[in-house]
């Protein structure tokens, strides 16, 4: 007790802060850091299970080589997943921006619409999605064949993403719940005086959207984009994650190691994409402020 009194204010502040942070630090060391490091170790070593103990023996980059050059489907599935992310992300971000701008208007019954648009987040789960989307929902190709005729006439680079997006439109929408919330919460924070001032100066709805709303959502759009990429990459039903799961108990003596190596390859690729998006945004906003 006496000792404590001698501590300076700053030191006590440190102590108190770390006391609040302590659960996280302990948790990070005990249940998060160890598995991450262990996973890295497994991706570089052969795993041998004897009884209840696990032995690792160093194999270098062997499993990374296996994943990239030997496993027949991995690179294909990785490509599929990247295609999935590249197609979905822009649509999700734009769609959720549009929906949140619509929902942000003041009209009667908007509560009901908000409730509906947040529905997907509530029921999003692997089993539910696979039951609902794999077999039982009608694809839009049956409903409006003309759209497909039109899309089929496009060059291939345009055709395949747009057909893909249209085929998966419900899934895309179901991934946008959180993003709609992020935008909606951000839109609420725009000072209404800005709109009033603009209206007095004769700005219409259209101009107000482009000159006030959109610039204010820039940061939100970046957050949404990053969130979407991570969300889609971690989605357990995407092609590459399904492959990783089937490779966990690989029977060719590559148990655990191969799937760990695959996970880390995917992780690095996704981090590169996130870094690129962030860099683009950074350069873009610097250009603007000059």
């Amino acid at each position: 007790m006496k000792n404590k009194r001698h501590l300076s204010f700053a030191a006590r502040e440190q102590l108190a802060g770390y006391a609040f942070l302590a659960p996280w630090i302990i948790g990070f060391l005990t249940v998060t850091l160890y598995p991450v490091l262990y996973s890295v170790a497994m991706s570089f070593s052969a795993v041998k299970i004897t009884g209840s103990s696990i032995k690792l023996s160093w194999r270098g980059l062997y499993y990374y080589d296996q994943a990239l050059n030997v496993d027949p489907g991995f690179t294909i599935d990785l490509g599929k997943t990247l295609f999935f992310i590249f197609c979905f992300t822009p649509v999700i971000v734009v769609l959720s921006l549009i929906v949140s701008v619509l929902l942000n208007n003041k009209f009667r019954g908007r509560g009901i619409f908000r409730a509906i648009y947040f529905f997907p987040v509530i029921i999003m789960s692997g089993p539910v999605i696979s039951t609902l989307l794999s077999k039982y929902t009608v694809s839009f190709s049956d409903a409006i064949p003309q759209i497909y005729e039109f899309l089929n006439s496009l060059p291939d680079t345009l055709k395949s993403p747009s057909v893909y997006i249209l085929d998966n439109i419900i899934l895309i929408m179901w991934f946008s719940g959180v993003q709609i919330l992020i935008f909606l919460a951000g839109l609420q924070k725009i000072n209404p005086n800005l709109y009033e001032a603009a209206a007095i100066d004769g700005a219409g709805t259209w101009e107000k959207f482009w000159k006030i709303t959109l610039p204010h959502t820039k940061t939100l759009a970046v957050i949404c984009t990053l969130y979407t990429i991570i969300d889609l990459a971690n989605y357990s039903n995407n092609a590459v994650n399904q492959r990783i799961t089937t490779r966990i108990f690989d029977d060719a003596g590559r148990i655990y190691s191969l799937s760990s190596a695959m996970s880390w390859i995917v992780f690095i690729v996704i981090m590169l994409i996130i870094g690129a998006v962030w860099l683009l945004f950074y350069l873009f906003s610097r250009e603007k402020s000059k």
Partner: protein, 310 residues
Amino acid sequence: MNKSAFIRARKRILGTNEKMGILPLAVILMLLIGIGFVFIYPILYMMVNSILSPDELADVSVNWVPREIYWGNYRKAIETLDFFTSFLNSVLMSAGPTVLQVTVTSFIGFGLARFRIKGKTLWMVLIISTFLIPDQVTKIPRYVLYHSYGILNTILPSYLPAVLGQGLKSAIFILIYYQFFASYPKALDEAAEIDGCSRFRIFYQIALPTAVPATVLSAVASFVWYWNETSQSTMFFGEKIKTLPMQLGIFTDRYTALYGAADALNEVDRLNEAVTLAGTFLSILPLLLLYLILQRKFMQSVEMTGIAGE
């Protein structure tokens, strides 16, 4: 027609600055209804088809409006899902971790927001990085780790990380609380401190009660995410504790075990789309009810919290 009547009509249709006119409103509603329909189409489809009898399911003329409500699918689905046990398991594995996770993340968020600690940036980066690392990277090592702790197939693989701020998407909740506590006036704290209030008491008697919006938001999101998580939980405690979504994942196998193989059976007992959809609906029904009760409060919380940092 005189001029003022014309202006009035124009105002009503196109709207003024204060009030939206009929035309923009109609456009907005049309768009919202259109997109909204695609949003909930699968759910409507599921609800309608889950009450179709086997005869009607085969009948092409019955599309959206069933002639009668056939509850047989639900009876079978309840049995296949082992509904009541699974439901209680789901509550046990969602409510518990949610309470722990929300409590602990609010605690951590408060610490980060209110104290000038050294190395704060480092901790923030580490917290965000735990969100970036996908679950499948750490799934197997966690399994090995929990195995060595001897806690597999107990409630602990879910409860232990939650109580240490490492639960499902804990990083998001820490950030929500961090942002909330960083933005409310510090004067309250200081006044309490002068009156001799301990830091912990400041947290739970002053700071936490003001953070109701952040808590509602975190609690609902956390509950839903825990409820729907299957890929890790199947591995960590799936042998002993089966939740509703887990049962749904093995629905076909369970049904076959209970009622026999699909093609060996007569029309009535065969596993059909309607039964599967009834099962799907049952597995999310508790969440739907919870959401319907809380949605107003939830939406208000979203508006007041702001999930993304500005």
